[in-house]
């Protein structure tokens, strides 16, 4: 399957003082692949996302985007090279309108637009994430779930090659989950490479080509969702004992 690796991590570690949040993680991600990053809370998934997006600088190791080392070059440069993300806890721009929250992602990033073209593009993205008429609304007037939609639209505004979704599907009801999954499917069909951190196993099963399971910062399993979810060590990491 792997044509040319879009994103590779090689022996990436992140230490916070004595705590090793990410420990010697390596993987390669083919273009247009959807990778699931799963594991119990506190296993280092979000830290790994932060290392890729540039929010954090790795303590050791290499992260390459289409062969170019991006580890530690800073989030703004990484964003301009075509990596966009959503945050586990939504980060909105409360002083801006919903439309501006979306356009923010499309001015300085990977693909750049401005003026009417940008506004049209942002409107289309809002429509796409299910908020067709929200453009002029204040950001704080939206529900948490709708804010998550806006955040995805912002990530898409720069037309990223690699998209990092940190628990973007969490909190959706079954109907919304279905449309959410369909939307991610569609983003992949456009040729994007996607990493999702998710606890919704149904989504992992239907979306991911491959999964990496993390526990205490280390990779404990890698493979198709079906294989890793059946793995004894993975079950132990998630559930501890056999009876649950």
């Amino acid at each position: 399957m792997p044509d040319s690796p879009a994103l590779t991590a090689h022996a990436v570690s992140k230490r916070f003082g004595g705590l090793v949040a990410v420990n010697d993680i390596s993987f390669a991600l083919a273009e247009n692949e959807v990778l699931g990053l799963i594991g119990p809370n506190g296993s280092g998934k979000t830290t790994m996302m932060n290392l890729i997006s540039g929010a954090l600088r790795p303590s050791a190791g290499e992260i390459r985007l289409y062969g170019e080392d991006i580890a530690g070059i800073g989030a703004s440069r990484i964003a301009r090279k075509g990596v966009a993300r959503t945050f586990q806890l939504v980060r909105m721009l409360p002083g801006l309108t919903v439309l501006e929250n979306v356009t923010a992602g499309g001015v300085f990033g990977h693909a750049r637009r401005w003026g009417q073209e940008l506004n049209d593009y942002a409107h289309a993205l809002l429509q796409r994430v299910g908020l067709p008429n929200a453009g002029d609304v204040a950001m704080t007037a939206l529900t948490y779930i709708d804010q998550k939609r806006v955040e995805l639209a912002r990530a898409l505004a720069g037309d990223p090659k690699v998209l990092l979704l940190d628990e973007w599907l969490a909190g959706l009801n079954p109907t919304e989950l279905k449309t959410g999954i369909a939307l991610i499917e569609q983003l992949r069909a456009e040729g994007r490479t996607i990493i999702i951190v998710e606890h919704v196993m149904h989504a992992i099963r239907s979306l991911c080509d491959r999964c990496i399971v993390m526990s205490s910062g280390a990779k404990i399993a890698e493979g198709t969702p079906r294989d890793v979810l059946a793995d004894a060590e993975v079950i132990r990491a998630y559930l501890g004992t056999a009876d649950a």
Binding site: A75, A79, G95, E100, F108, T143, D146, T175, A182
Partner: protein
Amino acid sequence: MTSEAQAAAPVPVTKSTGHRLGITGREWRNLAIAAVLFALAAVVPLVGSGYVQSIAISIAIYTALATSWMLFSGPTNYISLATAAFFGSGMYIVAGGLDLAPYPVLVLLAGVAGALFAAVVGLATLRISGVYFVIFSLGLAELVRQIITWLQHVLGTMSGLYVYVDRSEEMFFWQLLALTAVVYLVGWWIGRSRLGFALRIIGNDELVAVHCGINTARAKVILFVISSTFAAIAGALVAPRWSYVEPTIAFSPFLSFQVVIMALLGGVHRLWGPLLGVIPFTLLWELISANFPAQTTLLLGAAFLLIVYFIPNGVVGLIEDALRQRGEWLKSLRLLLVRRSRDA
């Protein structure tokens, strides 16, 4: 919440919502209004008494300073107390250079020096944020003051310098008014530029800003440089009017605080906000210093507390709230009338 048809292909939307390319009719209108107001302001020293002239000059100084302060601190929420550092530097360049170069050249030089000084300071400090930046900016003015004091001591000059440039009061006012006009034009240009948008994003959430691809350090330094350059030029324009310059006056932390208070009183999210703080504050200040000359600082502090407590969004916030309430009131009135006519 709409959950149907989200996964459908994006539909191009042609609805237009205020574009930023080209100057819109509304912007032309605002520019015209601004031009008329400036023309009216320019007439003030010709018709007013000496007292009115001196108040007009104060207002012009503080409008230029508070508005240029707000260009940087408004969108980013980085409260800078370094105004005096740049203002004083501008003054000293004029005061110290009058024997060497003509006055207009010194004013330009003050701008260039202010820009370079701000670039160095900005690059070194704009990575720190919040209260650390506030304290640093306050310390900066103090540091420059001490250096100048020390230099004067070493060079064996007096504690201050005399500045003689032949200018009428009207001329001082017009110079400052012209500077204010430039501040407004630059502010207007920034507000509609990518740079201005970047700063608003930075002020809302710096982590989001970097993930949007914004080089936050560069954007902040550029704005800090622009803002500080204006403060330095203001100092250079004011120096001859004060005719005697010494470090405690030129680098007074009081000035930095006053500028912040005025800008906050007016409102820092509109270009014309600081002006609405400067005018009442200057008049209030006249009143206080005329009637309670011994308690000026105390009353200033009290005024600051009241402003922050009662009008956190400034005069602009009050005006906009009032307009919004009026709009809602009109809307409900209209609804009521429609319902009446339907019932009838």
